[in-house]
């Protein structure tokens, strides 16, 4: 349960978030009416969100460090461990997409971005501290032509068709479409 520093940090942040929620519920439960309760929920959401952003920064920090030093392969190996440990966390897939794109594998990069965006739409929200909207927009703009041309030249090729489908999915999400 407390096998490494990340786990300890995760549990500490979780405990803080729970304590904050309890505090807000106690305060919000007193006289003051619905407006105060609504305000409490907003604060609660904000706190949970900030805790998540903080945690992501700590968890994926080593991957970012390796990436910044140009060691993409080592970053991917580290990331693979984290994705297995936290399969429901979108951030790993987004980082994986960015690294794979840098390494020249557009199809796999697209698949990772799609998975990340499906898990958490915050990455497309321009106002989110986690936003990768500009990067995803660039990816879609740059790859749409080459992948589209590839799919058109090989109409029976299912891999090209799947890549085009992924580009179109990201386009639709960027345009504000829902799943």
């Amino acid at each position: 349960m407390f096998s490494d520093a990340y786990d300890k940090l995760l549990w500490l942040l979780l405990a803080l978030a729970v304590a904050a929620i309890v505090l807000l519920l106690v305060v919000g439960g007193g006289p003051g009416g619905g407006k105060q309760a609504g305000l409490g929920k907003a604060v609660e959401r904000e706190m949970a969100y900030r805790a998540r952003v903080e945690l992501i920064g700590k968890l994926y920090g080593p991957v970012e460090t390796l990436r910044r030093s140009g060691n993409n392969s080592a970053a991917l190996l580290k990331l693979d461990e984290l994705i297995r440990k936290y399969p429901g966390e979108a951030h790993g897939y987004i980082l994986q997409g960015e690294i794979l794109r840098e390494m020249g594998t557009a199809d796999e990069a697209l698949a990772s971005f799609v998975q990340g965006v499906k898990l958490n739409g915050d990455y497309l929200d321009a106002n989110s501290p986690l936003s990768r909207r500009d990067e995803i927009q660039r990816l879609v703009d740059e790859d749409a032509k080459s992948i589209g041309a590839r799919a058109a030249a090989n109409p029976d090729n299912r891999t090209a068709a799947a890549a085009l489908q992924r580009v179109n999915y990201l386009k639709s999400r960027l345009a504000g479409g829902c799943e």
């Binding site: 392969s73 080592a74 991917l76 190996l77 796999e108 698949a111």
Partner: protein
């Protein structure tokens, strides 16, 4: 008399027809698939037996596995009785250029999907921090026809101005089976200073808990290129080629096949994630590396 003879003759003919019918129903065409031996013959046969059985069930023929050593593959393919091949991407390119092999499907495994990259690794803390530091060091390569265990790393070194033939203390290739694992362990335990490791093997060994990525420094990495590939001989039955491609692309994690009375998951047994339909032009990266490194099918003496 005549009547009785006619009755007897009819009965004999009916019996013969029934026998012929039985024989036809039980017999299916036998088609050979040549499998490049990956780590060992035993491992290759055990990995791909469920897949071969699955293909037989789906395509209505009896596929037979023929395990072949990497270096013997082209010679064996030239004999002409292999309708399908399962090889690494360099062998695919060699057989394509020299014998017109058709691309059927490409295997997906690990983070790069149907691609893998080659890396030059050293042990963390060994003092080898960058590619230039490997001059005068002891190096291990994977098998000579391995795209991401030899070709890619050799190419990376040439691009960095390091000639593996002259600039190392020595280089060798580990003997026997599981060469990729051996050279990774060799670096970890100090037998070699540096090694040419496929990223896929590093990833798989880390997943299996055999190594930690933190134990190594990656000094250089190649661009990811296609890896294991199913091919079909130029003269293979087009309908069967189509059926095999469809069957491979349709494979899902839950699909099973019966081998020796046991029902096994096809993809899990083969340690693969699925199949993709790449284009032959996706293999150009392998072609470019083979030309630069002076390897088959472009080797010039």
């Amino acid at each position: 008399m005549i009547r009785s003879s006619l009755t007897r003759l009819t009965l004999i003919l009916l019996a013969l027809l029934a026998l012929a019918g039985c024989k036809a129903a039980g017999k299916r065409p036998v088609v050979k698939i040549g499998y490049m031996i990956c780590n060992s013959e035993e491992e290759t046969l055990s990995r791909f037996a469920p897949l071969t059985r699955y293909l037989s069930d789906r395509c209505g023929v009896d596929f037979v596995m023929v395990p072949i050593d990497t270096h013997d593959f082209e010679k064996r393919f030239k004999q002409g009785d292999l309708a399908f091949t399962h090889t690494n991407s360099l062998l695919y390119v060699i057989l394509r250029e020299n014998h017109g092999l058709q691309l059927v499907a490409s295997e997906k495994r690990g983070q790069f999907g149907s691609r893998s990259a080659g890396a030059i690794i050293a042990r963390k803390g060994s003092g080898i921090e960058k590619l230039a530091d490997i001059r005068g060091k002891r190096m291990a390569f994977g098998p000579m026809l391995a795209p991401t265990g030899y070709l890619a790393e050799y190419d990376l070194m040439l691009a960095a101005g390091i000639n593996p033939e002259h600039d190392l203390a020595y280089y060798s290739i580990p003997p026997g089976s599981y060469k990729h694992e051996k050279l990774i362990y060799g670096v970890l335990y100090g037998k070699y200073d540096v090694a040419a490791a496929p990223m896929l093997d590093l990833e798989v060994m880390a997943r299996e808990g055999k190594i930690s990525p933190d134990d190594f420094v990656i000094l250089a990495q190649s661009k990811p290129a296609p890896y294991c590939t199913f091919g079909a001989a130029r003269n293979a039955d087009p309908e069967l080629v189509k059926k095999v491609r469809e069957a491979l692309l349709a494979l899902k994690p839950g699909d099973t096949a019966e081998v020796d009375g046991e029902r096994l998951k096809v993809l899990k047994a083969a340690a693969i994630d699925g199949y993709e339909e790449l284009l032959d032009s996706d293999y150009d990266l392998i072609r470019q590396m083979a030309k630069r490194v002076n390897m088959p099918p472009y080797q010039k003496y």
